[in-house]
Symmetry: C2
Subunit: 191 residues, 2 copies
Amino acid sequence: MARTANPDTPAGRKILEVAGVLFYERGIGAVGVDLIADEAGTTKKTLYDRFGSKDALVAAYLKRREQRWEEFLDEWMRAHHPESGLDRVLAVLDAEEAWWAGSRRGCAFVNAHAELGESDHPGREVLREGKLRARAKFVALLAESGVADAETLGARLHMVYEGAMVNLTVGGMSDAFDEARETIRVLVGER
Amino acid sequence: MARTANPDTPAGRKILEVAGVLFYERGIGAVGVDLIADEAGTTKKTLYDRFGSKDALVAAYLKRREQRWEEFLDEWMRAHHPESGLDRVLAVLDAEEAWWAGSRRGCAFVNAHAELGESDHPGREVLREGKLRARAKFVALLAESGVADAETLGARLHMVYEGAMVNLTVGGMSDAFDEARETIRVLVGER
DNA sequence: AAGTAACCATACCGGTCGGTATACTCGCAG
DNA sequence: CTGCGAGTATACCGACCGGTATGGTTACTT
């Protein structure tokens, strides 16, 4: 008797894939489990057999989203192989712009935070971890390039990066990422 | 026959006040009109007589929130009367920290954007305008102090400010505002 | 041959959602 | 005294919500 079901089956993967699109595009609360099951060509029964609850599916969606973004970023870095510390940081912004590709929905984690709030939802910890990992990525890129005080500078650059996302999506400022890149140039001290 | 009712009545004001707390604290989708009516000591009938629909009430909530924040900020400025351009900008961050006062729910506009998405909701324009006004505030504070290129610098500082909100609330980074103030000092060029 | 994991199909549950309907009271202005 | 705007109280509506129940079909394993 499997107390915690294994979601890694063909139907389970399809459900997670469909949920990934629907949750992000329409919001977590706005998408019902019936719709996800239908859209995935399966049934609610199977969804609950694989994931146990909607909350667990949401948590799986967030984890998967984080994982997919990191894979995307790694591949972007491999394809564009920026060399200087500054270029490597700026490449993260380029990758993020490409990652969204026109969607105005913004950061999935910020959106999820708005819907999950201060509850004890299993997905909440994923959000916090995701932002900490994003910050750590900036710090690591700077440290690899031998930048002094990478910790402090990385935190500042990450903050600019997060602000650009908000300004682009909520504020509709289409040049937010250009501004962010310029701001980062200033903070890194390029002249 | 009033096609668009006037919400500015005792019951209407009470409903808007209660909705302001509930929508922010629990999220727009998570709060039903029945709850708002109950909590306001009135009835759903009155709510619909005043506002016409939940969407309209949400839009009114967002407008009111924007207005209250600007009043709060003005009063904060009057009470603390910072003088230098830098101090005036930093005071906005101080005010924002005081404005939240411990809540981890984050920016009401960012949260609303997550729930309203790309629909044609009447509240969406309020969000975009709100962020533009926030940016304009930074620009104005710098321009008043005779800073050169206030437009560019103001946009950058505003971006840092928005990033700090995200990192504090979603990332749980409790020192986000301290980092933002330091980053702003660097960008303004204080030494 | 028996067991089991994975899956599909359908029906059902209690609860909540946004929104409407009906009918009544009160205070005030013409 | 009549009309009306503002308000209360309650009942109702169809739709949808997350979650469960029942039952049957494959296919692979032991």
